[in-house]
């Protein structure tokens, strides 16, 4: 864990209620599937946001406006600073992916799939992504995934773009392993539909985000795990729904 002051480079709307923020600052210790925990003026607890992309000195976050905190974030301007705790959570393990991994992201669960796809592709693995949204106006990053060289399918629940239905309606593909992040009902559906092992990234209300307060503990087949420290990524074999 590091405490880093980032400077906002850009903060733009990319879809309905969805913003992409690019920041400059030291990203050492950050890995795909991890999150950063942001201190916002006027709010007591930090906001955990998954990492969408990073270089050694820039960080990209995509966040959905869901409450006062993320609304305040959406109004921040380039040049402003953000105090972040970085390198939080276990992240995805790419060593188990096989040569044809499938990445399944839903809504605000899409961003962590982006940097993961980058890593898997860099490791020479033929990666396929399914990006699920409610409707066309909420969809984002299809072109970015495709630009990485990732075969990409988009689903919308209302059929206004791409495949009509949920991410599970696009899952009849050939894959060796999968990685997923999204709302819990989607994770359950993916769990039931999938035919291989895989890794799931979970969300929970957190106090600290670094393992101290036991605010986000869940039960697994191998004991109690803190979503923030021992997770947010759990493997299929250990999940208890």
């Amino acid at each position: 864990m590091y405490n880093v002051d980032f400077k906002i480079i850009s903060n733009r709307k990319i879809a309905k209620n969805t913003f992409e923020m690019t920041l400059s600052g030291d990203t050492r210790g950050i890995a795909p599937g991890q999150f950063v925990n942001l201190k916002l003026d006027g709010f007591y607890l930090r906001r955990p946001i998954s990492v969408c992309d990073y270089t050694p000195d820039t960080l990209t976050l995509i966040y959905k406006v869901v409450g006062h905190g993320t609304e305040a974030m959406s109004k921040m301007a380039p040049g402003e600073t953000l105090d972040a705790l970085t390198g939080l959570g276990n992240g995805y393990d790419t060593s188990r992916s096989g040569d044809r991994p499938l990445l399944i992201g839903g809504g605000a669960g899409v961003p962590p799939m982006y940097v993961l796809a980058k890593k898997l592709l860099a490791e020479g693995k033929k990666s396929t992504a399914i990006l699920g949204f409610n409707s066309a106006d909420e969809a984002f990053y299809e072109a970015e995934f495709k630009a990485l060289g990732c075969e990409t399918y988009v689903t919308t629940a209302d059929g206004s773009y791409g495949i009509r239905g949920f991410v599970t309606d696009a899952m009849d593909l050939d894959y060796t392993y999968f990685y997923t992040c999204g709302p819990e009902p989607m994770l359950r559906a993916v769990y039931n539909k999938s035919v291989t092992s895989g890794q799931f990234s979970f969300e929970e209300r957190m106090g600290c985000g670094f393992g101290a307060c036991m605010g986000c503990t869940c039960k697994t087949k191998y004991g109690h795990k803190r979503i923030c420290k021992d997770g947010p990524v759990l493997t299929r074999e250990e999940i208890v729904w």
């Binding site: 209300r205 106090g207 036991m214 503990t217 869940c218």
Partner: protein
């Protein structure tokens, strides 16, 4: 030169700053980012006889200037704490630690305290009779002078280390309960635990916390905690560990002026993992500015006559 030393029932601390139970785990997460030996001591995660998962999530909710938690005493149980956590903890923390003990019966309190009493690294025992997030235990022992005294007597009978009773603010008269603990032989009192509160999720029209209620902490509770430390100081002669929303060195001084001998830092550690360290470092500078040479001189210093 400033002297930050304070003494709690014969246990001398290099400074009065003690991370509060439940906000510091067993120390390791913090030891990874700074040398926690700069702290006066720290109070480890509330420990019970049996291992506990605690409450179902969500366990955390935000409030104005604070937070609610309903963790519900998640801990690995006294056996594991003694066999695994304490030996690990000794590797990162060389000073005597505060052992926070909780329970669901008088026997359980006594048994856990008797066992932790034999642990060399434990400097004092903080007996939590004030957890608001468990049923049939915790706070139910801390809401009447009689039951608080009963736990105190049972624990004192089986321990040789200083016993500090951790009191609940969710009572009509905290001073009467502190007095009952003192009369029953407590070496000190520690206050306040969290204030019971709740939040409702507007979209789901249901409580945010699965436990419905949780304990409020953070700067929002500081004035309440300060007032209670003040009242208890007027009622008892035993030392007080003051806590509740402490976020900076000035808050430490304020708590001590109200009557605290040492001060615990809780929720601040969760928002800024370096909070306790920063307070320790800031304290001598704030003392100099306020012309305080010896910190012990100011304990209860705002009470006149």
């Amino acid at each position: 030169m400033t002297n930050t030393q304070v003494t709690l029932s014969g246990l001398t601390l290099s400074n009065p700053v003690i991370p509060a139970s439940g906000t510091f785990g067993y120390g390791y997460e913090f030891a990874e980012i700074y040398d926690i030996n700069c702290l006066g001591s720290f109070s480890f995660k509330g420990t019970t006889r049996e291992p506990r998962f605690g409450n179902e999530p969500p366990r955390i909710a935000e409030t104005a200037s604070g937070m609610l938690n309903a963790v519900g005493l998640q801990n690995p149980g006294i056996d594991k704490v003694i066999s695994e956590e304490l030996p690990k903890l000794r590797k990162v923390f060389r000073k005597p630690v505060v052992a926070n003990i909780s329970g669901f019966s008088i026997d359980e309190y006594a048994e856990c305290c008797e066992r932790i009493d034999k642990e060399e690294g434990v400097g004092l025992i903080e007996v939590n009779i004030s957890c608001p997030n468990v049923h049939c235990g915790g706070m139910s022992f801390g809401t009447s002078p009689e039951s608080a005294a009963e736990v105190t007597r049972a624990v004192k009978a089986v321990t040789s280390k200083p016993v500090y009773m951790k009191l609940s603010p969710n009572v009509t008269d905290i001073a009467a309960i502190a007095k009952a603990c003192e009369d029953a032989g407590a070496d000190g009192v520690s206050l306040i635990n969290t204030l019971m509160g709740m939040r409702i999720d507007l979209r789901h029209r249901a409580p945010v916390l699965r436990n419905v209620t949780g304990g409020l902490s953070g700067p929002a509770v500081f004035p309440v905690a300060l007032r209670m430390v003040w009242q208890v100081y007027e009622a008892v002669r035993i030392p007080i560990i003051g806590m509740g929303g402490v976020a900076c060195a000035e808050d430490v001084i304020e708590m001590m002026l109200a009557g605290a001998t040492a001060v615990e830092v809780g929720a601040a550690n969760l928002v800024d993992p370096f909070a306790s360290k920063k307070i320790v470092e800031e304290l001598p500078r704030v003392m100099e500015r306020l012309h305080i040479e010896n910190l012990t001189d100011i304990i209860g210093g705002a009470h006149h006559g």
